[in-house]
C-alpha cells in the first residue's frame, strides 16, 4: 500500500573515475526527457489550476478567492456533503469489510476461497454503473423496495439523494478495506498473539492490545484510500442527480459558468487539499507500520482455524449476506441490459436484445473509442513508467527524488482537477495549421488517462524491476554487451510480465474513467464508453443501453484484472494497488 517509491541506495562510485561515474550522460538525457514530459502533462495543468485560483491578475498571490469559497453557503454545503458521504462510505465499508476480513484471515471453512474471489468483484463494476443498477434494486420502485413494501407495508427509498451516493459507493469501495485488512491480518505473527496469551491477555483484551495495533495501519491506509476515491468519484452523484458535492460543483462551474470562472478552480484546489491530506496521512501511517514487522523475520505461522458445523454455517451466512448485497448491482445491471419494460414489477415484464444491438451495431464508436484511448494510454504509460522506474532504481543521476515525486503526483489529484487543468492549458492551443483546439482531439483523452494512471504502472514496473538484480546487467556488460542491449536482451524480458501488468492496469482503469472524461469530452463522436453511459442515462428510455454498456465495462475490467494478475504472478495485485 505504500505510496511512492522507496529510495534505492546508490552504489558508491569507484574511486578515481570522475563525474561520469556519478552522472551517466545517457541516464541524464533520459531523465531530462521524462521530466520534460511530466512537466508538460502533470505539473503544468496543476500549476494552471492553482494559478487560476490563487494568483491575482497582477501576479500577486491571494487567498481572497479561497476565502470566498468559505462564505458561499452552497460550497460549504457541497464540502460538508462530500466529506459526510466519504465518511459514511468508510463507515459502512468498515462494517461490511471487517467481519469478512477477520473470518477469511482467521478461519478456514467451506467456500472460503470463493468468498475471497467474490469479494473483489465489486471493484470490476464502475460505481456510476452500479448507481444505475441500484436504483432498480433499492430505489423508489426498486425490486427490494417493492418486496419490502408488499411484505411489511413500509416504503423505504435507499437511493434518495446523498444517501443513494453513499450506498452505491460503499458497495463499490468496501473491498479496498477488506483486502488491506485481510492481508494485514494474515501477516500478523501468531507468536505475538501467543505471547499475549501467555501473559494473560484473552478475548477482547487480546484483540484490543495486540491485534488492533498490528492491523490498524493497514486499516487506516485502506480507509483513507476509500475516502479519497469516494470524494474523487463524480460519476455516481451525476447519475443520481446529486449536484451539491465538490466534484459536481467544480464541473458545473467550469461548464455552465465558463472556463474563466475562478470559483471552479477554487473548488478544485479544495479537492486537491483534501486528497493530499489523506494520501499524506496514509503514507505516514504506513511508514510507521514498519515496527510491527521488524519483530520477527518469519511470516505468520500456523494454519487458520478450521470451522465446522454451526460455526461454518454462521461464517458462510455472514459472507453470503455481505457479498450478496455487494453483488446485487452486477445482477441488476445484467437484467437491466436485457429489459424492455421494467415498471413497478420485481423483474422486467418484457425483454429485448435491442440494447446490445444499439451499442454494438448502431453506435459501436463508444466501445471503439474506449479501446483506442485506453490501449494508447497504456502503451504510452508503460514506456514512461518503465523508463522512470529504471532510472529511479538503476540510474546514476541526481534529482531522482523530484522525478519520483512528480510521477507519483497524480495519485493525489482528483480526476476532475486533471480534466480542468488539461482544459485550461490545452484548450487555447490549436493543432498546427488548423483551427482545431488541442483539447478537442482524441489524443487529449490518451494523455489525460496516461497521466492519471501513471502511478499504478510506475509501481508495477518498480516491483518488477526490483526482482531483477543489478548484477545481471553487470554480467551482460562484462560479456561485452552495450548497456542498451543489456537492457533489451536481459532486463526487459525479465520485467516484461510486471511491466505489462502495469499497462493492463492503466488500460482497465482508463476504460471506466469518468471524472476526467466528462470534463474533457465535447463531441459525442469522440466520447468513450463511460461518458456514453452517462449520455444514455440522460434520456428516459436510455437506461437499458446504458446498462448494456455497463456490462461491456464489467467484462473489460474483469478480463483485464485477470490478465494483470496472471502477468504479475501475484494474486490480488491489481486490487491492492
Amino acid at each position: 500500500m505504500r505510496i511512492g517509491i522507496p529510495g534505492q541506495a546508490v552504489a558508491p562510485a569507484p574511486p578515481g573515475v570522475g563525474w561520469r561515474a556519478v552522472i551517466d550522460p545517457g541516464h541524464a538525457v533520459l531523465g531530462l526527457l521524462l521530466l520534460a514530459i511530466l512537466a508538460v502533462f502533470v505539473v503544468w495543468p496543476i500549476a494552471a489550476v492553482l494559478g487560476a485560483a490563487l494568483v491575482e491578475p497582477d501576479g500577486g498571490v491571494t487567498l481572497a478567492h479561497l476565502a470566498r469559497f468559505f462564505e458561499n453557503p452552497l460550497y460549504i454545503e457541497s464540502l460538508a456533503n462530500s466529506l459526510r458521504a466519504g465518511a459514511w462510505v468508510v463507515a459502512i465499508g468498515t462494517v461490511l469489510a471487517l467481519p469478512l476480513a477477520f473470518l477469511v484471515a482467521r478461519y478456514d471453512f467451506r467456500g472460503r476461497t470463493l468468498v475471497t474471489t467474490l469479494s473483489t468483484l465489486p471493484l470490476v463494476l464502475p460505481p456510476f454503473v452500479g448507481a444505475i443498477a441500484l436504483t432498480q434494486v433499492f430505489g423508489r420502485a426498486g425490486t427490494l423496495t417493492l418486496l419490502v413494501q408488499d411484505l411489511f407495508g413500509i416504503h423505504v427509498n435507499l437511493m434518495d439523494g446523498l444517501r443513494g451516493v453513499i450506498v452505491a459507493q460503499a458497495l463499490h469501495f468496501f473491498p479496498f478495506i477488506f483486502l488491506t485488512v485481510a492481508a494485514a491480518l494474515m501477516n500478523v505473527d501468531r507468536s505475538l498473539e501467543e505471547m499475549g496469551q501467555t501473559m494473560g491477555a484473552h478475548g477482547w483484551r487480546l484483540l484490543r492490545r495486540v491485534i488492533f495495533p498490528l492491523v490498524l495501519p493497514a486499516y487506516a491506509a485502506g480507509a483513507l484510500l476509500t475516502f479519497v476515491k469516494a470524494v474523487d468519484d463524480i460519476g455516481t452523484p451525476f447519475i443520481l442527480n446529486v449536484k451539491n458535492m465538490l466534484g459536481p460543483q467544480a464541473y458545473l462551474r467550469i461548464t455552465t459558468v465558463g472556463r474563466d470562472d475562478v470559483d471552479g478552480y477554487v473548488i478544485c484546489v479544495v479537492m486537491v487539499a483534501i486528497s493530499i491530506a489523506c494520501v499524506g496521512a496514509s503514507n505516514w501511517i504506513v511508514a510507521r507500520r514498519e515496527y510491527a514487522t521488524l519483530q520477527t523475520g518469519a511470516r505468520a505461522s500456523g494454519l487458520p482455524t478450521r470451522l465446522v458445523g454451526w460455526g461454518a454455517i454462521g461464517a458462510l451466512s455472514l459472507c453470503v449476506l455481505v457479498l450478496g448485497a455487494s453483488l446485487l448491482p452486477h445482477l441488476a445491471v445484467i437484467v437491466m441490459s436485457f429489459s424492455r419494460v421494467w415498471s413497478l414489477t420485481y423483474l422486467p415484464s418484457a425483454y429485448t436484445l435491442g440494447h446490445y444491438a444499439e451499442i454494438f451495431l448502431r453506435a459501436p464508436r463508444f466501445i471503439v473509442n474506449t479501446l483506442t484511448y485506453s490501449i494508447a494510454a497504456a502503451l504510452l504509460g508503460v514506456v514512461i513508467a518503465a523508463a522512470t522506474a529504471y532510472l529511479l532504481q538503476r540510474g546514476r543521476v541526481p534529482g531522482k527524488a523530484v522525478l519520483d515525486a512528480v510521477a507519483m503526483m497524480p495519485i493525489a489529484l482528483p480526476g476532475v482537477v486533471i480534466g480542468v487543468g488539461f482544459l485550461r492549458v490545452f484548450y487555447p492551443m490549436t493543432l498546427p495549421g488548423t483551427e482545431t483546439s488541442l483539447a478537442s482531439t482524441g489524443a487529449i483523452f490518451v494523455l489525460a488517462y496516461m497521466v492519471r494512471r501513471l502511478p499504478y504502472a510506475l509501481r508495477a514496473s518498480h516491483a518488477a524491476l526490483h526482482q531483477v538484480h543489478g548484477t545481471l546487467e553487470d554480467a551482460a556488460a562484462v560479456a561485452g554487451a552495450p548497456r542498451t542491449r543489456a537492457f533489451r536482451r536481459v532486463v526487459l524480458p525479465l520485467i516484461l510480465g510486471g511491466v505489462t501488468a502495469g499497462g493492463v492496469l492503466i488500460f482497465i482503469t482508463s476504460a471506466v474513467e469518468f471524472s476526467t472524461t466528462i470534463t474533457l469530452v465535447s463531441r459525442i463522436e469522440q466520447s468513450p464508453l463511460s461518458y456514453a453511459i452517462y449520455i444514455y442515462s440522460q434520456s428516459p428510455l436510455g437506461r437499458g443501453a446504458a446498462a448494456a454498456l455497463g456490462v461491456v465495462a464489467i467484462v473489460i475490467v474483469a478480463v483485464g484484472t485477470y490478465l494483470a494478475n496472471r502477468l504479475s504472478g501475484r494474486s490480488r495485485m491489481a486490487f491492492t494497488l
Binding site: T441, A443, T484, R523
Partner: protein, 450 residues
Amino acid sequence: MIADTVRSLARLLLPGLLLIAVTVAPSPTFAQTQQVVVLTSFPKELFDAYKAGFERAHAGWRMEVVPKPTSAAITHVRERAARPDVDVFWASAVDAFIFLKSNNMLERYTLPADLRRGIPDQVAGFPVNDADGFFHGFAVSGYGIMWNRTYLTRYRLPAPKEWEDLIRPEYLGHLVISAPSRSGTTHLTVETILQGYGWQRGWELLLRMGGSMGAITERSFGVPEAVIAGQYGIGIVIDFFGLSAIASGQPVDFVYPSVTSIVPANVAIIRNAPNPEGARRFINYLLSDDGQRLLFRPEIARLPVRTALYREAPRGMPNPFTMKAGVQFNADLSASRYQVTNRMFDQIITFRHAELRRAWEAIYRAERAVEAARAAGRDMTETERMLTQARASASYVHVSERMAAEVSGVMERDAAYRSAKEREWGEVARASYVRAAQLAAAAEEAARRR
C-alpha cells in the same frame, strides 16, 4: 552512448506515438470542409436519427454532435463567440434562441422558397419561425399529463384528464414535475396554466398541485423517467415524452388537458460558423419531407411542422395544426415576466416544498376528520371555517399580476433587489404554509374532539 540511448528510447516510444497519431487522425479535425457541428440539448434518440439521416442524404458530409444541456450550450456559444467551433444550435427552449439572437450570436437564414412553402406561419396562435429569420421551428410540442397504469392500479387511483384533476386529495405524494427554472419546457407549461386560468387562479392551482408533488426534479427528462419506472404515478410533461414512452410499449398513457398550448422547438445557425454550408444543408434536411418524417419514429414521437405529412402520421399521433389549443399562448407576456415566474415558482414551491406538502397533508387529514364528524351528526360550521382559512393560507399568492409586471424588469437588472425580493417571497410563503398546517391541525383536533 547518448545517441545509443536516444535510439533505443525512440524505438520504445514509437509504438505509443504511432497509436496516438492513429487516434487523432481519423477524428474529424483534419477534414474540416465537409462537416457540420451541431450543438444540441436533445436526447440521443433524436440526434442519432438525424445524424444517420443527414449523412445518408448528403454523401460525403459528416454531422458531428456536441450534446449539452441548454444552459451549458449557451455558455459554450458565448465563450467561443470570437471563434465558434459549432455551426448549428438545436434545442427546444425559445428563450435560449431569443437570448442568442439578442446577443448577436446567431446568423440570419432565409429558407429556400420550396421548403418555406408547406410550413404554416403559426401553430395555435404561436409563431412557428422567428420573424427576423434568425431561428426556425422544426417540430411543435404541446404539454400534458402522463401517468403509469401499473402505478395507478397498485395505489387504486383514477386517471387524470385536466389540470384541475391533479389537486384531488388522493393524489397526494404521487405527482412529479420538474422545476421551471431548470427546464424550459416546464416553464412553458407553468406559463400556459397561468395564462389559461389567469394569474391568481393559476398560482392557486399550482400551489395545490405543489402540495401533492412527491418530487420536483432538476431535469425535465427526470419526470418521464420517474413515471416510466413507476417511482411516481403522474407527471407533468411535454408531449413527446409521453408519446415516445407509449410507442415503446411502456405501461403509460398521456393526455392533453383542454387548457394547453402548442409551441415550436427550434434550430439556428451560429454567427461566423466554421461550416456555414454544412449548417444550411442540415437545416434544409431537417425541414425537408424526409427529415420531418424522422420525427414520427416511435422513439422520437414529435410533431412535424410540415402539415402535409400528417396524412402519414402513425396512429395516436395528434395533429397540432387542427387541434384547438385552449390557450392562445402569449409569448411576449411570457417573456416579459420570465424571471418572476421562475423565481416565484422556486421560492414558493420548489424550495418550500416540504412545508407546502405538510400543509396540504394536514388539510386533507382534517377534511376527512370533519367529514366523519359531520356524518356522525355533529355541527362542523366553526371547524369548516378554520379549514377554509387553512386552504386559503396554503394557496396564498403574495405577488399580484400587476406587481409581477412591475418588478420583472428591475429583477433582471438588479441582483441585490432580486435576492431581496426572493427572500421576501420565500419567507411569506413559508409563514403561510406553517400557519395553514397549524390551522388544519387545530381543525382536525376539533373534529376529533367529542
